[in-house]
């Protein structure tokens, strides 16, 4: 993944030649120094590809770190909040990791590739933290972000498309499962994971095989109406599915400049990822204290009345500001107006009625709406096909 800076200073992913050819809108955004499309053709059509057929997303800029060595499991167990020993070989686990203050640095997935061999996929650059964490552990930490290219294939027909590409037996792969397939003299790693809340897979391949993977995927997927999608469609899908986005829904702790702006896992509704039975892990002391004295904030998913997305809204209770919205969208499949909010404790209990103060503009005319909303207990989009084994042949 070499920078080709003849026309732009941005890095290009290994799929860039194919992505650029498909990016009809020429609507480019940036992601960790890479130029990546916000939308290829039409954001809404791309979103509906995810929900109705199959969408393909280039997630190569994701940070990928290989952790290997005799202490790999012990190392990761100290690093993250979850009990890593419960992620068996051939499985993937979602987790967060904290600094010593118990504040979330990032969330991501850990791939248990084999014995003493893991891959950590992270939103934020983490190589320094991973190296510091290696003090006292017999592990090797390698940044393979540039060596591994990745595509997400998400949507009802994703399995069928990949079967057509020749990934035999893929339908049997369970959610958060891992499989390997021979591909062009290399190994294609497939995980049943994603950021859309739908049936879907992520494909991991050596960077120099990226273009041929793209070509074969789109050739095989044509009957299944496969379509590339950009970050705008992904954002809509992830809000609908209830996924937090680092840097949007929380400030990665080690990049927060102002005190009090970071959040603990409990404050992000991710307490279920914290295993306090582990004797030592980063943030444990602080989290123990937080459990004793209480959290400052609570993450809440809100169902907002009306159809005006509540982006950046203040959330009011009894006329008083009790929080702010970090992500919001009108969700087309669930047909509900969803907002993620950070509420001051004790607000945010499921069922609580609140008000979102929404400002929106039509033709330079600004309108303020006080939209009633309530705290809901689960994401609005969570179809059975997401979990079905064997995966549905749509």
């Amino acid at each position: 993944m070499k920078p080709q800076s003849d026309t732009t200073m941005m890095l290009r992913t290994p799929f860039h030649s194919r992505v650029a050819a498909a990016c009809e809108l020429n609507d480019w955004g940036t992601w960790k120094g890479y130029t990546t499309p916000r939308a290829y053709t039409d954001m809404e059509l791309e979103y509906f590809a995810i929900r109705s057929t199959a969408g393909v997303f280039d997630l190569s800029p994701m940070n990928k770190y290989r952790i290997s060595g005799p202490d790999a499991e012990a190392y990761l167990n100290r690093l993250v909040t979850r009990d890593i020993s419960k992620i068996r070989a051939g499985r993937v686990g979602y987790t967060v990791w904290c600094n010593d203050a118990g504040q979330v640095m990032d969330d991501g997935t850990i791939f248990h590739l084999g014995e003493n061999d893991y891959r950590v996929c992270a939103f934020a650059r983490a190589i320094d933290w991973l190296h510091w964490s290696a003090l006292g552990f017999d592990v090797t930490v390698v940044d393979e972000s540039m060596d591994v290219a990745a595509l997400a294939v998400q949507g009802p027909t994703s399995c069928a498309a990949l079967l057509a590409m020749g990934l035999q037996g893929l339908e049997q792969l369970k959610p958060f499962g891992l499989a390997a397939f021979p591909f062009e003299g290399d190994t294609l790693t497939v995980s049943r994971t994603g950021f859309t809340g739908d049936l879907g897979y992520e494909l991991w391949i050596a960077a120099d095989k990226a273009e041929v993977l793209w070509d074969r995927l789109f050739a095989a997927g044509r009957p299944y109406l496969i379509k590339p999608f950009g970050s705008d469609a992904l954002d809509l899908a992830r809000i609908e599915a209830g996924f937090l986005q680092a840097g949007v829904d929380f400030v990665p702790a080690e990049s927060a400049v102002r005190t009090g702006r970071s959040r603990s896992p409990f404050e992000l509704g991710l307490g279920w990822l914290v295993d306090m039975d582990k004797p030592v892990f980063n943030g444990r002391r602080a989290l123990q204290r937080e459990l004793a004295v209480g959290s400052r904030y609570r993450f809440a998913m809100l169902d907002v009345d009306g159809n005006k997305p509540a982006g950046h809204s203040f959330i009011l209770s009894g006329g008083k500001k009790v929080g702010t919205v970090t992500s919001a969208a009108w969700c087309p499949s669930a047909k509900s107006n969803v907002a993620f909010a950070q509420l001051e404790m004790p607000h945010g209990a499921v069922g609580e009625e609140l008000v979102a103060e929404i400002y929106y503009q039509r033709e330079l005319h600004w309108t303020r709406v006080l939209a009633p909303c309530r705290v809901i207990d689960a994401p609005v989009f969570n179809p059975p096909r997401r979990r079905a084994v064997p995966a549905g042949a749509f």
Binding site: R78, D100, S133, L135, G136, P279, V280, F281
Partner: protein, 529 residues
């Protein structure tokens, strides 16, 4: 697991024993566990050749806090001074020595202007040292998450600064971060005076006269004057006598001291220190574990990086604790003859460091793991005041020499540039060559010779990097940042584990305040804190 104690204290160094004493005075049941065969740690006397004994690590007493002496009744427990208020004599190969004691400075090269400048400089810096000494006598205030006590301490420091008066306050603020070289150039003409004062500022550190922080190092050393030491003092029987007196005092208060019992590790359960495991495999439990081992040893080896969170491991790994002072011990068959020094002057503190550039050049070598052919010396001939240290007619010479690398290329036993010589032999030869220039014929008087490199000091006294102060005394590693942020008020940042070594505020030197402050903090926090 045997009976439960209140406190297990690792390391019978002087700070460890001071801490144990105060804890026992407050009614705590304390077990002290020491790897070595003698109490005292860096305050040690060793027979390095048959009949010849020296203070094997620290050789002068100039900072031991009077409250520690008084409250622990050390004189009743055998502590006896062999000499006090010794002058510092900067040696000159031509016999034109400089003599400094308190506000008095004499010597051929000293003009009356220099003499006046010194008196005024001494008075002014003495006030600064007094302010610092006050801060040393209590726990360091924390800036973030501070308590009322912290805020009062800070306010007290602020008030103390104000009380200096406007001129002195701004002068202190101007110089305290700076280097001795510039400060000396600003005040004095005599190269000898400038050299002696700057040498005092950097003894035991990895700094040269031009290194920032040396002014702080100078004021740190000057706190000894506030504590009642006009010049260096020497203990009867060597520095080990302090270890013995502290141990006797501790035992009289019911402290149990186990010698020759190296600790393999601190036992952590559910994130809390619950006891220690000895190298013999024996496990001992206690409500509180206090470590007088240096912070790097305590965290990286006894607790283990795996048992702490990443941020703490990172901070521990970044503590600067590379020492560059070596010890040279000579057994002599008679009194050495230094050019132009009478027998009375031989009992003073003798310094070889002709000028500041000489020291700076000696420091240059060590930056690249080498050693200079022209090192600086801080020499003591303790047998003059204490004949018990050598056989009749014989003498011992003990010298702190700077700078020695922790390990030259290939190690101390590896080959030096000269043929058939190890680095240890080569450096020893250079040291004797240098001494020979000031004391012709001394080489023929040497009966036995011992060089303790920083690596040897690390091994013999359990000091990481061989650093006297258990971590560099620089402004990023003092006060609330000593040994590192998050472990600054003697609480280690791990439940049930406290620190009391020189690696804590205020720092090293045989002062005893780290141990005293730590004990007071542990007592304040109550049982099982």
């Amino acid at each position: 697991m045997t009976e439960q104690r209140d406190v297990i204290l690792i390391g019978a160094g002087h700070n460890g024993l001071v801490c144990a004493n105060y804890l026992a005075r407050a009614g705590r049941k304390v077990l002290v566990i020491e790897a070595g065969e003698r109490p005292g740690g860096g305050a040690a006397s060793r027979e390095f050749a048959p009949g010849y004994t020296v203070s094997a690590c620290a050789q002068w007493l100039y900072q031991l806090h009077p409250a520690v002496c008084r409250e622990l009744q050390l004189e009743r427990h055998g502590l006896k001074f062999a000499a006090r208020d010794l002058a510092s004599v900067l040696l000159d190969t031509g016999g034109r020595h400089l003599r400094l004691l308190g506000a008095q400075v004499e010597g051929e090269g000293i003009s009356s202007a220099d003499s006046d400048a010194w008196r005024s400089f001494h008075g002014r810096t003495g006030k600064y040292a007094k302010l610092l000494a006050k801060v040393f006598e209590r726990r360091p205030p924390r800036l973030v998450e501070s308590t009322l006590r912290d805020r009062l301490a800070l306010a007290g420091l602020g008030l103390g600064l104000k009380m200096l008066g406007r001129d002195d306050m701004s002068d202190l603020m101007r110089i305290v971060l700076g280097n001795m070289y510039d400060l000396m150039e600003e005040h004095f003409d005599s190269p000898q005076l400038k050299a002696l004062l700057s040498f005092d500022s950097l003894l035991g550190s990895r700094m040269g006269p031009r290194t920032p922080n040396t002014v702080f190092g100078y004021l740190y050393r000057r706190s000894g004057e506030v504590f009642g030491y006009t010049g260096a003092a020497q203990l009867q029987g060597g520095m080990g006598a302090l270890g013995d007196a502290l141990a006797a005092s501790a035992r009289s208060r019911g402290v149990e001291i186990r010698l020759g019992a190296p600790v393999a590790g601190i036992d952590m359960r559910d994130g809390r220190a619950v006891g220690v495991t000895l190298e013999s495999g024996e496990q001992l439990g206690a409500q509180v574990v206090v470590s007088a081992a240096d912070p790097v040893t305590t965290f990286s080896r006894l607790v283990g990086y795996r048992n702490m969170e990443t941020g703490m491991a990172r901070r521990v790994s970044q503590v600067r604790c590379e020492g560059n002072a070596a010890k040279l011990h000579l057994a002599l068959d008679g009194l050495p003859r230094f050019i132009g020094l009478d027998a009375a002057a031989l009992g003073q503190r003798l310094v070889i460091a002709p000028n500041m550039d000489y020291i700076e050049r000696a420091f240059n070598a060590v930056k690249y793991d080498g050693y200079s052919a022209d090192p600086a010396f801080d020499i003591s001939i303790p047998s003059i005041h204490d004949p018990s240290l050598a056989p009749a007619g014989g003498h011992v010479l003990s010298a702190i020499v700077q700078y020695a690398p922790y390990a030259p290329a290939g190690g101390w036993e590896g080959p030096a540039a000269a043929p058939h010589e190890t680095h240890r032999e080569c450096f020893t030869r250079l040291l004797l060559d240098k001494l020979e220039q000031y004391a012709p014929g001394i080489r023929e008087q040497v009966v036995a010779c011992q060089l303790l490199t920083p690596a040897d000091l690390e091994r013999d006294f359990g000091m990481s990097g061989g650093h006297w102060h258990h971590g560099e005394l620089s402004l990023d590693q003092v006060l609330m940042m000593r040994p590192f942020p998050g472990a600054s008020q003697y609480a280690s940042g791990l439940d049930g584990l406290y620190l009391c070594s020189a690696g804590c505020h205020p720092g090293g030197g045989v002062m005893g305040l780290a141990g005293r402050n730590a004990a007071r903090e542990i007592i304040r926090r109550g049982a099982g804190a």
